[in-house]
Amino acid sequence: MIGQHSRLTAVLAISVVSLFLTMTVGFADEVNGPLLVLPEKSFDFGYVPQNTSISHNFVLKNEGTDSLFILNIKPG
Protein backbone atom coordinates (compact mmCIF):
# COMPACT_ATOMS: atom_id res chain seq x y z
CA MET A 1 0.00 0.00 0.00
CA ILE A 2 2.81 2.37 1.02
CA GLY A 3 4.82 1.40 -2.09
CA GLN A 4 1.85 2.14 -4.33
CA HIS A 5 1.39 5.54 -2.63
CA SER A 6 5.08 6.42 -3.16
CA ARG A 7 4.86 5.45 -6.83
CA LEU A 8 1.78 7.62 -7.28
CA THR A 9 3.52 10.56 -5.58
CA ALA A 10 6.56 10.13 -7.81
CA VAL A 11 4.41 10.06 -11.00
CA LEU A 12 2.55 13.16 -9.83
CA ALA A 13 5.81 14.97 -9.08
CA ILE A 14 7.23 14.14 -12.52
CA SER A 15 3.99 15.33 -14.16
CA VAL A 16 4.11 18.65 -12.27
CA VAL A 17 7.77 19.19 -13.25
CA SER A 18 7.02 18.32 -16.91
CA LEU A 19 4.08 20.73 -16.98
CA PHE A 20 6.24 23.46 -15.44
CA LEU A 21 9.01 22.91 -18.02
CA THR A 22 6.52 22.89 -20.92
CA MET A 23 4.97 26.14 -19.72
CA THR A 24 8.38 27.78 -19.23
CA VAL A 25 9.56 26.86 -22.74
CA GLY A 26 6.19 27.89 -24.18
CA PHE A 27 6.35 31.30 -22.53
CA ALA A 28 9.95 31.79 -23.67
CA ASP A 29 8.94 31.17 -27.31
CA GLU A 30 5.95 33.50 -27.20
CA VAL A 31 6.47 36.91 -28.74
CA ASN A 32 5.06 40.10 -27.42
CA GLY A 33 4.58 42.69 -30.14
CA PRO A 34 4.94 42.41 -33.91
CA LEU A 35 6.89 39.55 -35.48
CA LEU A 36 7.99 39.60 -39.12
CA VAL A 37 8.05 36.14 -40.70
CA LEU A 38 9.42 35.52 -44.19
CA PRO A 39 8.34 32.11 -45.56
CA GLU A 40 10.97 32.51 -48.30
CA LYS A 41 14.12 34.47 -47.45
CA SER A 42 16.12 33.90 -50.62
CA PHE A 43 15.45 33.26 -54.28
CA ASP A 44 17.72 31.91 -56.98
CA PHE A 45 16.94 33.15 -60.51
CA GLY A 46 19.46 30.81 -62.12
CA TYR A 47 20.72 31.87 -65.56
CA VAL A 48 19.74 35.40 -66.55
CA PRO A 49 20.89 37.53 -69.51
CA GLN A 50 22.85 40.76 -69.07
CA ASN A 51 21.22 44.20 -69.40
CA THR A 52 17.75 43.10 -68.36
CA SER A 53 15.54 43.39 -65.28
CA ILE A 54 14.13 40.49 -63.32
CA SER A 55 11.69 40.41 -60.44
CA HIS A 56 10.43 38.19 -57.65
CA ASN A 57 7.69 38.57 -55.06
CA PHE A 58 8.48 37.75 -51.43
CA VAL A 59 5.74 37.26 -48.86
CA LEU A 60 5.91 39.15 -45.54
CA LYS A 61 3.76 37.92 -42.62
CA ASN A 62 3.01 39.31 -39.19
CA GLU A 63 2.90 36.39 -36.78
CA GLY A 64 3.23 38.53 -33.67
CA THR A 65 0.70 39.91 -31.24
CA ASP A 66 0.66 43.54 -32.40
CA SER A 67 0.52 45.47 -35.71
CA LEU A 68 3.65 45.33 -37.85
CA PHE A 69 4.77 48.49 -39.63
CA ILE A 70 7.10 48.11 -42.60
CA LEU A 71 9.30 51.17 -42.30
CA ASN A 72 11.55 50.68 -45.31
CA ILE A 73 12.99 48.10 -47.65
CA LYS A 74 16.33 48.96 -49.15
CA PRO A 75 19.28 47.25 -50.80
CA GLY A 76 22.34 46.48 -48.74
Binding site: V48, P49, L60, N72, K74
Partner: protein, 169 residues
Amino acid sequence: MKKKELAVGDSTSVEIIFRTGHYKGKVRKSTSVRTNAKKQERLQIQATILKDADTSRPLMLEPTAIQLDEIRPDNPNRKWKFKVALLNIGEENVKVHMVSAPKGLFDVKLPGKDIKPGKERYIEFKFDDRIGQELFTKSVTFELNDEAKTRYTIPISKSRRWGPTRASQ
Protein backbone atom coordinates in the same frame (compact mmCIF):
# COMPACT_ATOMS: atom_id res chain seq x y z
CA MET B 1 4.64 46.65 -51.71
CA LYS B 2 0.86 46.59 -51.34
CA LYS B 3 0.57 47.31 -47.60
CA LYS B 4 2.84 49.05 -45.11
CA GLU B 5 0.88 48.07 -42.02
CA LEU B 6 0.11 44.44 -41.24
CA ALA B 7 -2.45 43.54 -38.61
CA VAL B 8 -1.84 40.42 -36.51
CA GLY B 9 -1.94 37.38 -38.83
CA ASP B 10 -1.95 39.57 -41.95
CA SER B 11 0.46 39.26 -44.88
CA THR B 12 1.61 41.19 -47.94
CA SER B 13 4.13 40.76 -50.71
CA VAL B 14 7.08 42.84 -51.79
CA GLU B 15 8.46 42.79 -55.31
CA ILE B 16 12.24 42.89 -55.62
CA ILE B 17 13.47 44.05 -59.02
CA PHE B 18 17.09 43.47 -59.99
CA ARG B 19 18.78 45.09 -62.99
CA THR B 20 21.46 42.76 -64.28
CA GLY B 21 23.32 45.51 -66.18
CA HIS B 22 26.90 44.53 -67.01
CA TYR B 23 27.28 42.05 -64.16
CA LYS B 24 28.72 38.72 -65.21
CA GLY B 25 28.72 35.39 -63.40
CA LYS B 26 27.24 34.61 -60.01
CA VAL B 27 25.80 37.63 -58.23
CA ARG B 28 24.18 37.84 -54.78
CA LYS B 29 22.24 40.85 -53.57
CA SER B 30 20.46 41.42 -50.33
CA THR B 31 17.78 43.79 -49.13
CA SER B 32 17.06 44.79 -45.57
CA VAL B 33 13.45 44.91 -44.36
CA ARG B 34 13.17 47.41 -41.51
CA THR B 35 10.07 47.15 -39.35
CA ASN B 36 8.93 47.97 -35.82
CA ALA B 37 9.56 44.32 -34.83
CA LYS B 38 12.50 43.49 -32.56
CA LYS B 39 14.04 41.05 -35.02
CA GLN B 40 14.99 42.56 -38.39
CA GLU B 41 15.12 40.44 -41.53
CA ARG B 42 16.90 40.35 -44.88
CA LEU B 43 15.87 39.10 -48.29
CA GLN B 44 18.44 37.68 -50.65
CA ILE B 45 18.45 37.04 -54.38
CA GLN B 46 21.06 35.37 -56.51
CA ALA B 47 21.54 34.93 -60.22
CA THR B 48 24.12 33.71 -62.71
CA ILE B 49 24.36 36.47 -65.28
CA LEU B 50 25.34 35.47 -68.78
CA LYS B 51 26.78 37.49 -71.60
CA ASP B 52 26.32 34.76 -74.18
CA ALA B 53 23.28 32.49 -74.30
CA ASP B 54 25.34 29.54 -75.51
CA THR B 55 27.00 29.19 -72.10
CA SER B 56 23.70 28.39 -70.42
CA ARG B 57 23.99 24.60 -70.75
CA PRO B 58 22.07 22.37 -70.94
CA LEU B 59 19.47 24.65 -72.58
CA MET B 60 19.90 27.48 -75.02
CA LEU B 61 17.03 29.98 -75.02
CA GLU B 62 15.97 32.07 -78.00
CA PRO B 63 15.21 34.84 -77.26
CA THR B 64 16.66 35.10 -73.77
CA ALA B 65 14.44 38.07 -72.88
CA ILE B 66 11.09 39.46 -74.08
CA GLN B 67 10.89 43.19 -74.67
CA LEU B 68 7.25 43.78 -75.59
CA ASP B 69 7.93 47.27 -76.96
CA GLU B 70 9.81 45.63 -79.80
CA ILE B 71 7.39 42.83 -80.64
CA ARG B 72 4.04 44.55 -80.60
CA PRO B 73 1.48 42.44 -82.51
CA ASP B 74 -0.54 43.80 -85.47
CA ASN B 75 -3.71 43.70 -83.45
CA PRO B 76 -3.08 43.74 -79.70
CA ASN B 77 -6.84 43.66 -79.04
CA ARG B 78 -6.87 39.99 -79.92
CA LYS B 79 -5.28 37.19 -77.98
CA TRP B 80 -1.79 36.49 -79.22
CA LYS B 81 1.15 34.26 -78.39
CA PHE B 82 4.88 34.64 -78.20
CA LYS B 83 7.22 31.66 -78.12
CA VAL B 84 10.64 31.18 -76.58
CA ALA B 85 12.58 28.26 -78.02
CA LEU B 86 14.39 25.90 -75.63
CA LEU B 87 17.13 23.99 -77.45
CA ASN B 88 18.69 21.13 -75.51
CA ILE B 89 22.45 21.41 -76.10
CA GLY B 90 23.18 18.90 -73.33
CA GLU B 91 23.47 15.13 -73.47
CA GLU B 92 20.46 14.09 -71.35
CA ASN B 93 16.71 14.44 -71.70
CA VAL B 94 15.42 17.31 -69.59
CA LYS B 95 11.99 18.34 -68.40
CA VAL B 96 11.04 21.80 -67.19
CA HIS B 97 8.76 22.92 -64.38
CA MET B 98 7.65 26.35 -63.25
CA VAL B 99 9.21 27.99 -60.21
CA SER B 100 7.86 31.53 -60.34
CA ALA B 101 5.65 33.50 -62.72
CA PRO B 102 3.66 36.72 -62.32
CA LYS B 103 -0.10 36.39 -61.99
CA GLY B 104 -2.69 38.18 -64.07
CA LEU B 105 -0.66 39.83 -66.81
CA PHE B 106 -0.23 36.83 -69.12
CA ASP B 107 -0.35 33.04 -69.15
CA VAL B 108 2.72 30.86 -69.50
CA LYS B 109 2.66 27.33 -70.87
CA LEU B 110 5.76 25.20 -70.44
CA PRO B 111 6.50 22.21 -72.67
CA GLY B 112 4.90 19.18 -71.05
CA LYS B 113 7.25 16.57 -72.52
CA ASP B 114 10.96 15.91 -72.15
CA ILE B 115 13.32 17.89 -74.36
CA LYS B 116 15.67 15.40 -75.97
CA PRO B 117 19.33 16.25 -76.73
CA GLY B 118 19.56 18.29 -79.93
CA LYS B 119 15.80 18.95 -79.92
CA GLU B 120 13.82 22.11 -79.41
CA ARG B 121 10.57 22.80 -77.57
CA TYR B 122 8.81 26.04 -76.75
CA ILE B 123 7.53 28.08 -73.84
CA GLU B 124 4.34 29.86 -74.89
CA PHE B 125 3.41 33.26 -73.50
CA LYS B 126 -0.26 34.10 -74.08
CA PHE B 127 -1.29 37.74 -74.01
CA ASP B 128 -4.64 39.46 -74.40
CA ASP B 129 -5.92 43.01 -74.88
CA ARG B 130 -5.32 43.90 -71.20
CA ILE B 131 -1.61 44.10 -71.85
CA GLY B 132 -1.82 47.21 -74.10
CA GLN B 133 -2.04 49.78 -71.32
CA GLU B 134 0.18 48.00 -68.85
CA LEU B 135 3.78 48.93 -68.04
CA PHE B 136 5.79 46.33 -66.18
CA THR B 137 9.07 44.61 -65.40
CA LYS B 138 8.46 40.92 -64.69
CA SER B 139 10.17 37.60 -65.15
CA VAL B 140 9.43 33.91 -65.35
CA THR B 141 11.69 31.38 -63.63
CA PHE B 142 11.69 27.69 -64.47
CA GLU B 143 13.81 24.74 -63.38
CA LEU B 144 15.07 21.57 -65.05
CA ASN B 145 14.91 18.07 -63.61
CA ASP B 146 18.65 17.58 -64.15
CA GLU B 147 21.01 16.77 -61.29
CA ALA B 148 22.01 20.41 -60.83
CA LYS B 149 18.36 21.57 -60.83
CA THR B 150 19.41 24.21 -63.38
CA ARG B 151 17.24 27.32 -63.36
CA TYR B 152 16.57 29.93 -66.02
CA THR B 153 14.80 33.25 -65.77
CA ILE B 154 13.24 35.00 -68.76
CA PRO B 155 12.79 38.75 -68.24
CA ILE B 156 9.61 40.26 -69.72
CA SER B 157 9.16 43.99 -69.84
CA LYS B 158 6.98 46.66 -71.39
CA SER B 159 7.85 50.32 -71.02
CA ARG B 160 5.41 52.02 -73.41
CA ARG B 161 1.62 52.02 -73.62
CA TRP B 162 0.25 50.91 -76.96
CA GLY B 163 -2.08 53.27 -78.80
CA PRO B 164 -4.74 51.92 -81.20
CA THR B 165 -3.43 50.34 -84.39
CA ARG B 166 -5.02 50.51 -87.82
CA ALA B 167 -5.96 46.85 -87.48
CA SER B 168 -7.73 47.42 -84.16
CA GLN B 169 -9.76 50.49 -85.20
